[in-house]
Symmetry: D2
């Protein structure tokens, strides 16, 4: 199944960029838990376009409307359903795409997969707009995790060649993560935001776009969560994170960095901390061994490709005439979606981790 | 579930390093297909230890014994079940591990997860030995893919700092992949195998181990396989590949390399080839857009951490006394599992791709 | 999961009797198929209350509003989402039920299951109103089945002690089923509808309700659909049909009648018909052997209990005081839901059979 | 999937009547629980043929061999795998069945489903022999349920026209169920066993077979287990019970008897018992409302068809010549499998109820 996910917390996401609405149904949430609706809106605002000069000027009404599953702010245990109306859509912009698929987009693959019946307007069901549903679901799950002592946060680790500083995988704190998870453009090192914005602005000026990396950390996960083999934290997290459009890589702990390490460098030695809790002195494992949490912070990074929508003329094909063709993508697009991807990836992680905690 | 996987092809893997046997049940295979048992044995030999000086001298009898699902070499459509006996086990080596968990292994996390009832001998259900089951299943699926024109192959892209050459993501051929998928130590560039073996030998001499990267490619997948969101090729492949112990990163196409690219560089322009087939001139996407195959080669890389079992003394804890402790891991271990990981990752990919093709 | 179902066609149903809306998301429908919206409305009208004197005078606006998944009347392949607003709700009627659970309803079991946070208004997520979602989904699946030559229909086999005639399991035709599946009160034998209406009216006059049996048949299913063991047609059909509130029994073919038969009576002998097709002379098996269709009509019966909402005073408990109590259920209720259950059960069958045909 | 089942407790069953072995993998069992192997053997002996004059004289070696998942009699948390060798097989008896499918068996439907590649010997994967795997899994789950205060038992409610007495759905006790669940031919009323054996003997003398009904009860289930809609106890139980060959009907509580009841008769009034626990005075619901347990005994009945293998000559088709044909089934067959079905259905229920309790 393409648009459902989960074992204990089951998502079903629907909608397209230009359908009447998008939305999500979440089955399996625990009954009786109070949900702070403003905190949901806060997370959705981080993802919503048009709030920051680095993103598209296109504004979307991202207010989720809850149809069921909550009564007086408390989860009833029945499926939680929310819809978000699509109000600011300009369907005429997209008429050409069935004929001339945009390079880097899913136009061509979707037309093959769905026998050309797919809704191409704005990317249809493949649109990044659908991540609003993931952020809604994640904002709910995040609150339930926080009540259980688990805090998730992320930052823009890089945009193009501009690098922020990685998390300290041993000492990253709930306070740091809480702070980051409220910001639109979260970074760790002072001054790096300006350099990143400059990189984004350069791309925009060149009618181009730029990629980057998002790094997330999770503090407070108890040891013993997750399962061996296909039920591991890495499996479950990556199975949902790759559902975020534009993601091309996911790595945990030292990730691809382990390839040049020796075992003596990569192994994290155990010790008892002052409270008598088992910890590791280093955390190359990113808090996961054998698919199961160690109790140390979970750390992972996600590679985000440059937005494929660029104004420069590109080579493509004409699916009607069967000849090669040229295409210029018009419309309002983000030159860099990395900052807006941070709350989405945090949300995906929140859903996955709550799912595993309920095992 | 931890040890089951799949939608159309359903795996259930069981066993531990020192249980009487390990095995796998595969439900959902198509009836009436002839299976070449020798080709299965060939793949299993690539994974089996003790066949090469770079691996552990420990020999394992890796012959799969088929209990059901095949009659006269033809799949019956009923679940295919195979067991592999564990014959060469030395259980006494592992008595200490319940008390002194090995850094980098799942000893500690498993003991928390399973309330200390887990079978610690040889790593139990977390042992790399279980990958023999994945190779068996993958060897079957690989044959079914080949009949459908799909060929999978991989190579050791790096060991420590020694690098092989990446696949050409546009022109990689079935011939190249077929050749690689028969070799124990598959590499692309001449001479690099020797340098890698030297790196491994150096690690062994230092009572240490070393990590690396495996790169795989798949040629012949038709366009239109996979689904948006959580049913994407990246989601499904990573959900099974992270089931291979020691994997800490999976990336597709340019992977983390996309972070420094502009859209104009990363987008793959479409064109019609001489046969009138839609292709892309470059293949930064690794053959996947919107979770769906483009028809171009699928390319992905997997980071493999250094074997955590090293002979050097390491810091750990004593879970009985509650005090810090020292540990020296004895036994026969691979200084580098990257070459043996190649057929395992190819196999995981074969299972996942056949599953998606049957959608 | 409670409110999701399916392997190839995946349902996610949400809402409660008095939430803002109820709805359903259907993932996995084939792209490119034209859907007749009027035919959907026709099926939903059969289930909707207030259209017939035998049912509750409570009117519900049962018009489904499609949010996504269809474009110009054609399925896009993306999840099909529909919502139905709850307009005619009288929430004040239900204030007492958290304290005094209604016998025969899920009030008590839901309060235990959901720690008293469940939405009790109108039965909440347990309300029969949710079957409107199933009818919507079923009406879509039914159309796709009809294009593939499969027709489903049902009738009221009994109300109380008034019996209609069973289907002829060998000769039941598509024409008969098509006719029945358009009627509000479908029966086979002339005159029986009047007697059933009399039985229902008697129950109503006695401030009581009455149960019955629904019989369904499916003509046109090819042989070879379904799987052994847990993937059998009986397993899959019953797993969804028991999701219809008030169902307490499901039987296939001769059902409980097989208990008094000898093998020589119950076995259906094979023969070739004039067209050279394998058929059975009798059809005690109800078209299913070993979980797999024989190509003969599928026949099954469903027992529907009397509506638990009756106006008579009943014994219950006071969950606040911890003492025994009396309860009179007010409001507008069906004295018999069996006629309205027919399209619901037909719909459940349509969803399940399409799911299995897509295997 | 055909031969896998479950959400929290995941079964994967493999093998056929004449394959080298049959077996089952059970993933998700709780770690650290002690298992009594003799109690498993006791349940398997109840199902095994050849132990009673009413069953087939064919003896099967039903000893399960545990390959993994248990260490020193304690569950490790890793998948529990058991195999049972097929020793007493006479493959030559079955050579004719590919050509002349047996009426009432899955020979024909399986050949269509699996393109004639299915293993026909002894019924292959469709053989009742596979229920030995279900009894093994159920015997393990039953022990885990008993530790949690839940006891399951069943009896032969009818054979042909000979009836035993139904359970008292309000007062059935753990003692009664424990006693029944140790017997080969469990009945409630004195003398009825003899009459049933007479009925079976009559069928055998007539080269025929006879059907019957199994009734099961479960005492000790806490209130609040199960979920609305598709996660209900009825859904989950029937989804696994229909996996037992020969089952054609499953009903809960009063089952099809509800069809002639009024609401005032069928509703179970609540009251507080002396211990202050909520109970119902009657139990027409069979312990389930809205899919969720009430805390009262769960009661359900299963219709079992007469064994299709009878020695009388029957009409069939010749799938090679395309002409009608005659068939006499030879071999050693049960004239009635109802007594042997009791432990199988109890086992299916044990698996399903443990799965739901782990939610």
């Amino acid at each position: 199944m393409s648009s459902t996910w989960g074992n204990h917390i089951k998502l079903s996401i629907f909608g397209g960029s230009h359908t009447e609405a998008i939305g999500v149904v979440i089955d399996g949430l625990p009954a009786g838990e109070t949900i702070d609706f403003d905190a949901i809106l806060c997370q959705m605002a981080r993802r919503a376009p048009g709030r920051d000069k680095s993103s598209t000027p296109r504004k979307e009404s991202d207010t989720p409307h809850i149809l069921s599953g909550m009564l007086d702010g408390v989860l009833t245990g029945a499926p939680l359903a929310a819809v978000i109306e699509n109000t600011n859509t300009r369907s005429k912009d997209y008429s050409e795409l069935k004929v001339h698929p945009r390079p880097g987009h899913a136009d061509y693959t979707a037309s093959v997969r769905y026998k050309n019946a797919n809704d191409i307007r704005g990317g249809g069901h493949f649109s990044g707009r659908l991540t609003a549903c993931m952020v809604f679901a994640g904002a709910v799950c995040r609150q339930l995790l926080e009540k259980r002592g688990v805090v998730i946060g992320g930052h823009v680790l890089s945009v193009g060649n501009v690098q922020d500083e990685r998390f300290d995988p041993v000492n990253v704190s709930k306070e740091e993560l809480s702070g980051l998870s409220l910001r639109y453009f979260p970074v760790r090192r002072e001054g790096v935001e300006e350099a990143m914005r400059q990189e984004i602005e350069s791309a925009r000026m060149a009618q181009d776009s730029i990629g980057g990396v998002v790094e997330c950390a999770v503090v407070g996960m108890p040891a013993g969560i997750g399962s061996p083999m296909f039920g591991g934290v890495e499996n479950v997290l990556s199975s949902i994170i790759y559902g975020v459009p534009a993601v091309k890589g996911v790595e945990f702990g030292d990730g691809f960095g382990v390839a040049t390490l020796h075992g003596s460098e990569n192994n994290d030695p155990y010790y008892y901390d002052e409270a008598g809790k088992v910890k590791t002195r280093t955390n190359h494992a990113g808090g996961i061994l054998g698919g199961i949490t160690t109790g140390m912070p979970i750390v992972f990074r996600t590679a985000v490709k440059p937005t494929p929508s660029i104004s420069q003329e590109q080579d493509t094909v004409d699916l009607v005439t069967g000849e090669n063709a040229k295409l210029s993508v018009h419309g309002r697009h983000d030159p860099c979606i990395v900052p807006r991807a941070v709350p989405v990836i945090e949300s995906a992680a929140a859903i996955a981790l709550l799912d595993m905690m309920m095992d």
